[in-house]
Symmetry: C2
Subunit: 234 residues, 2 copies
DNA sequence: AAAACCCTGTAAGCCCCCTTACAGCTTCTT
DNA sequence: AAGAAGCTGTAAGGGGGCTTACAGGGTTTT
């Protein structure tokens, strides 16, 4: 927990999309309420049942957000990236966490008591608008995932996931699109609501067709168009 | 489309939970922006792809909200009741409807342009807070449904649905709880993400165990505790 | 009153995908 | 450097639930 060098007094909020181009006095007011915490890869940030007291701003790193059922099965809702916020349900009346949040890499988060943030929002309606947009996006994600689970088979869900990951983490290369994120088959399975074994099988079927490959332990999408087609996205 | 007798100038908003105990001048301002429409049982209110221009307040009756996939399969998200709002995603940046809204009974809705409502919210922060709570509840519903689909089997999902319907529409009787809502097996199937045939079978298995029955074409829950148990809610 | 339509009941067949099992790897821990 | 732990690959087996098919009953339409 050493302290970082601070290029500006608001360094911990500067990387947060939600606070882009906020007036300095607003930033200052917000900054006084914020605390910074770091977690190592694999650490748990919060668990289902924990009190929903804080909202988290992800300053650096990636965080997995998943549902957990009593038998320990997971369903990963999303992976949060630098600049995004999570745990925002605390603002909407959630009392206990329903998700588990885990550091996929070493991360640094800023936390603010949801009370403080709602108070702050009441005085700064532009921020309120931004937050409601953020929550709208969250709803859209949930809707997508639900539709996906209800209507699509495992191969389709996997193809959709890969296309999505390509959009979010893809680095264009000559052999295709390289996914700059480290995910195990277990992670992929949790993301599509399937099992590790079935996911391995399905990935290898795609590989056999030359649609995907591997590079430095990460996935390489050789033929995004074909994947799009399998994903029923065109 | 004859006009109703209007007991108060705001009659069309009086039944809406969101507007309870709003100041008269607020009501008045809102009222000028609102239009009332009626639909008959079975009519479609909006379809996927329609522009998301309006927010709907359900003044009277019940409305089905479902996803539709290209093959025509449905997944019913929820049934809106008198006093609730729907189509609220229009306020959160949705451009086109993703849901289909259908009148389950004869209904009467008030609509307001989402633009007008957001403008109005900017000036009346208490309403903004209420709406964000409403949206929080919507998110919670979505999360529940998603978890349900991912983790639970058809019998469990059906039992959960019945318990939920009991809470929402149940009328206590000597033989159990009577569901005061008319739902076909097709509806139930759409609500749990299954098929009509499987749902019929599962219902009849519950009936064979004496857990449910029928009365006047509606379901009667004979043993809610047992259902709760099947639903893994205790 | 007849016809059309939808709802309910039942059942055979099949297939997707989960479960279980194991073995060789790679990556972290000590 | 060795051991532990987790990741990947593969395969047999089984089952939950979807598909398909059909028939009788109820309800709405004309």
């Amino acid at each position: 927990m050493t302290k970082l060098k601070t290029p500006s007094p608001f360094w911990c909020l500067n990387n947060v999309n939600l606070f882009e181009r906020l007036a300095p006095n607003q930033m200052d007011a917000l900054h006084r309420r914020v605390k910074t915490i770091r977690y190592q890869r694999g650490e748990t940030i919060f668990l289902p049942g924990d009190p929903s007291d804080f909202v988290y701003f992800l300053h650096h790193g990636r965080v997995k957000l998943s549902y957990l059922d009593e038998s320990g099965k997971r369903f990963m809702l999303t992976i949060c990236k630098q600049g995004e916020l999570f745990g925002e349900m605390a603002m909407l009346g959630e009392r206990q966490r329903r998700l588990i949040a885990e550091a996929l890499e070493d991360v640094e988060v800023c936390i603010i008591a949801s009370r403080d943030l709602t108070d702050f929002m009441a005085e700064h309606s532009d921020l309120a608008l931004r937050i409601s947009k953020t929550i709208g996006a969250r709803v859209a994600t949930l809707e997508n995932r639900l539709e996906d689970m209800v209507f699509n088979s495992v191969p389709t869900r996997l193809a959709r996931l890969l296309v999505r990951l390509g959009d979010e983490y893809g680095v264009p290369m000559e052999q295709g699109v390289w996914l700059d994120i480290r995910l195990t088959h277990r992670d992929l399975a949790d993301l599509i609501g399937s099992t590790r074994e079935t996911t391995t099988l399905t990935i290898n079927q795609l590989a056999a067709q030359g649609l995907v490959g591997k590079l430095q332990g990460r996935l390489l999408l050789h033929d995004v168009n074909q994947l799009r087609h399998l994903a029923k996205l065109d």
